[in-house]
């Protein structure tokens, strides 16, 4: 933020960074070989539902805006307990998830809703249960970085597993270096 913006109390809205998303399929392979984690078959895109945009009042409006058909593309929209909207994508392949998340992001940006985007989440579960516990990879759209989130309870997360994921994926993915930004996403609707 520049001095002038600070003086006048303005903040520039940041356009989301989408390119780094395409590094995910490679990282998924590493996760499988090193930590025995495979995709949960679900990914999600979290955004703030704004007031005033009459075009996206209902969940159906959102799907239409994003050019998705609920049945054909197996996506649906839910609202979480904190009032954030989630576009939940069911797709067994990580490539497919990435493509759909990217498409949804792009159309959000095209419709001027880029600033509302919060994060994308990709679910990973142990290939041979019970395994280590599941991990979500969270993609911060504004920063263009990933971080792992491994919830183990309503307010508990497995930091050791998260740091192990970081050490294995460091070369594949742009991992968020500032650990204080590895915010939790409790009770998220993505597996």
């Amino acid at each position: 933020m520049g001095l002038r913006d600070a003086l006048f109390g303005r903040t520039k809205q940041v356009a989301p960074q989408l390119d780094n998303l395409f590094a995910l399929p490679t990282a998924a392979l590493t996760l499988q070989s090193e930590l025995d984690l495979v995709s949960s078959g679900q990914a999600g895109l979290c955004f703030k539902a704004g007031s005033g945009e009459t075009s996206i009042q209902t969940d159906a409006d959102i799907l239409q805006l994003l050019d998705f058909e609920a049945e054909k593309d197996s996506v649906h929209v839910t609202t979480d307990d904190l009032g954030f909207k989630w576009l939940v994508i069911d797709d067994p392949s990580v490539d497919g998830q990435v493509t759909k998340v990217h498409a949804a992001n792009s159309s959000m940006v095209d419709h001027g809703l880029g600033p509302r985007l919060l994060c994308a989440v990709f679910g990973f579960v142990p290939a041979t249960p019970p395994g280590e516990g599941s991990v979500r990879l969270v993609y911060l759209l504004k920063q263009g970085t990933f971080y792992p989130f491994a919830p183990t309870g309503p307010n508990q997360r497995d930091n050791e597993l998260e740091l192990r994921v970081k050490s294995f994926l460091g070369s594949d993915l742009p991992i968020e270096k500032d650990l204080s930004r590895w915010m939790a996403l409790w009770n998220l609707p993505v597996r």
Partner: protein, 303 residues
Amino acid sequence: MAKSKIETDHGLNVRMFITGLMLVVLYLIITTLLIYAGLSMGLVLVIVVAMIFSQYYFSDKIAMFSMHAHEVSAQEEPRLHEIVDRLCLLANMPKPRVGVAEMDIPNAFATGRNPSHAVVCATRGIMNRLSDEELEAVLAHELSHVAHRDVAVMTIASGVGMLAGLVSRMAMWGAILGGGGGGRGNNNDNAAAMEMVVWLVSIVIYVVAYLLTMALSRYRELAADRSGAILIGKPSVLASALVHITGDMGRIPRTDLRKAESMNSFFFVPALAGGSAASLFSTHPSLEKRLDALQKLERELNG
């Protein structure tokens, strides 16, 4: 009153005694300098001592206020109270008041001028991060601070620093005013030069006092680690708690991304400014040192 059952470590005692002795020597040097400066410092001195004393006397309130902590009842925080109850029975000491600070940074502190006016406080972050056993170890460490009367010791130690800082400031004023005043005739040049020396010396004293205070604080931390670990009988649990709340793991937040974003006035770049956690630990020995000491203790207890 029966003595606390928390055991002592002789090596640490000796080192703390030496550190304390050096602080007393510093006190003497400063008093001499004060008399030598010959100003009407008596009054100033009374004020400073009163300040240090009130800092000591109200230490519990000051610490609670600056950490945004509030006292909690057994109904509000049964888990915390239960652990403190148990530890106080074990250590045979009066139960301190119990507080919670609503922040995500994992930390805990104990303060208060004596064991019957003490307060033990944990942040929400540390309670979320640690298992009951680990939290017990951390609280045992904090209760050891209370039993060791660390607030009193550290207040006296840091009081020296304050006095030294005062002397240097007074001397600086003296040098400036003495140079321009001219009320005392040809004594003037001498006095100004004299006060410049006082000024320099007191700065050196300030730095040394500061370093000694920090060293003393680190020894007290190791002593509290030791007593706390002996109290619960499991040094490894305290070690695991330390690993979980310091370093990388301590920095990973429990705050929800969605809540954090809405606090940050909606989705703009400057996210949370981290960093205040590190300063709280700066008076502490390094993690490796503490873990080494605990490991040694574990061998002693088992061997």
